[in-house]
Assembly symmetry: C2
Homo-oligomer: 335 residues x 2
């Protein structure tokens, strides 16, 4: 194992002091063209790599940011992670990702481990309570994606869940649907609850008595969508449209409908939420709400950088877009 080259090595080779090398690397002070040249060459010749630990220690930073997701493999967060990474491009920061497996305690533990190890934190979704998030926000630069933290709203990249869901419901109403069932998100999930509330309000507003049986509590996984449809089938629940709180469950439901020989959209219209890649390539392509996660991730990343520089951020709420595709159609005539 060859001993790592340090600033001192470079300095020696270039015939200058370590501080000069440091200054050249960081652009902290002006130096003569001459010395700069010599030092640059020495850096290349020795293929010098600064030691992050030392740098971090002296600057009181770690040059990393922490990202807590529900599930690294989740198609919903993927683009957001990429966007974040793009934002970090060109900076000295690198992201550490940890997932919480949809478990509140694991989430807490992940954050606990991350604190004191990163300079900034990003929470994607998340089940943690608002008070806890407030505490964290006071402790460390924090950006939340898909959550609203009271007193820290400007540090939250928010997508309007409620109104876009209402828009989705209006789309179904306009097609004549009245018997609309819903697969919701898990209990603690804020966005999921918003979508549920919008569904309920929309039904109420349309004068449709929302049968409690029409809501099946899900967990955002494909398998649950499948189970929900089977459940309604066994209970002989009749419906002409199914709104799943995310695309993954919608696609699970879609498979179940297929297996039951129920045609989409001729017998049942199907809608999801998120617009994951799989939704666009489903058969038939899924009508859904497009959350521009890539862009949001990038925005969140930039905001986090600002926050870590001590600057203020003021993030605006995003209105997502309704993507009408082939999975929705007019309500069937004869039952």
């Amino acid at each position: 194992m060859p001993k790592k080259t340090t600033l001192a090595d470079v300095a020696e080779r270039a015939g200058v002091s370590p501080s000069t090398v440091s200054r050249i690397i960081n652009g902290t002070a002006r130096v003569t063209q001459q010395t700069r040249q010599t030092v640059q060459e020495a850096i290349v010749a020795l293929s010098y790599q600064p030691n992050v630990s030392a740098k971090g220690l002296v600057q009181g930073k770690t040059l990393t940011v922490g990202v807590v997701t529900h599930d690294l493999g989740c198609p919903y967060f993927g683009p957001a992670l990429q966007g974040l990474q793009e934002a970090l491009q060109g900076t000295e920061y690198m992201p550490i990702f940890l997932d919480a497996h949809w478990d509140k305690h694991l989430e807490e533990r992940a954050i606990q481990r991350l604190l004191g190890r990163v300079d900034g934190l990003m929470v994607m979704g998340g089940l943690l309570g608002e008070t806890r998030l407030q505490q964290i926000a006071r402790q460390i630069p924090l950006i939340a994606l898909g959550r609203s933290i009271p007193e820290f709203e400007h540090q939250c990249v928010q997508v309007d869940q409620y109104h876009s869901t209402r828009q989705l419901m209006d789309h179904l109403f306009s097609l004549g649907h009245q018997r609309i069932v819903h697969i919701s998100g898990p209990q603690g999930h804020v966005d999921g609850q918003e979508r549920l509330r919008a569904y309920q309000d929309a039904m109420l507003n349309e004068g449709l008595n929302a049968d409690p049986d029409w809501v099946y509590t899900g967990d955002f996984q494909e398998a649950t969508g499948l189970k929900a449809v089977q459940h309604w089938h066994e209970q002989h629940v009749q419906y002409t449209a199914l709104f799943a709180a995310n695309d993954q469950m919608a696609l699970g439901a879609r498979l179940a409908l297929h297996e039951l020989g129920i045609q989409v959209p001729h017998q049942v219209s199907l809608v999801g939420f998120d617009d994951t890649v799989a939704a666009a390539f489903a058969v038939p392509p899924l009508t859904t709400i497009r959350q521009p996660m890539h862009e949001l991730g990038r925005r969140a990343g930039r905001a986090l950088l600002q926050l870590m520089e001590g600057r203020e951020v003021r993030l605006a709420r995003v209105m997502p877009e309704l993507m009408v595709r082939a999975s929705t159609g007019p309500v069937p005539k004869a039952p």
Copy 2:
């Protein structure tokens, strides 16, 4: 910003020396029950968090590992990332993920940035040449997932691409298929090339002249699967089975077939590779090769830990499993 509590603070409060505190935290030496008790309390009371930079500096480690993927949002790698994370659970290591956007130069740059910043490296897939990987492996503990590095085979988590593809082809042959087209992976991708080679060998072995038009060069993205089918349609290429080099392209192809009114599997049988979640929930569910990515990620993570401890690793090749689902059926009788 309250100044961070340090070892010294804890020591002062507990009335002992910093070294004692350090020893207690790391279990480096035996201490009396008495002092241990006092120190533990001080740690909790001050909610002390060790400074990773300082620790890293003195130990010559960074306590992080780097992971380079093609695409963080890719459904194929998600489970592997989770597995890796599980392996790191309970250790002091945390993962930094960087994606290379399927670009060789970005991959090189990502690795460059990671070197000197992490204690170990994991390359998932990747387009980098073997010689470069060898160089890297000599420099830093390296585990490759889905690649074989000459001289470092035992540091590679490998899945047998060739024989499993042959198995897949045999499945199609046994159903009577002869006109089998293939959407391949990108040029530089080793696994993709293996699958292509197996396809060609299988066809040859079956005495079927593999029309060069039957291979469409893809890039592992959904959209390409769609384009391939459109291309063959325009060229009036006739086929009864389509083998896509991964599930994502298979699902893209599946949508294109749907739009052309071609039934799966009644008119065309469809197979993919990887067994992503979306494949299992496709309509109809996709016949494919299951790569146990979660398990492989975990295995790779454990191996990396061993490597960083200076121990040897000896990873065995994995034989993936053929998942026969509803997207494949007997070759249609009349054309």
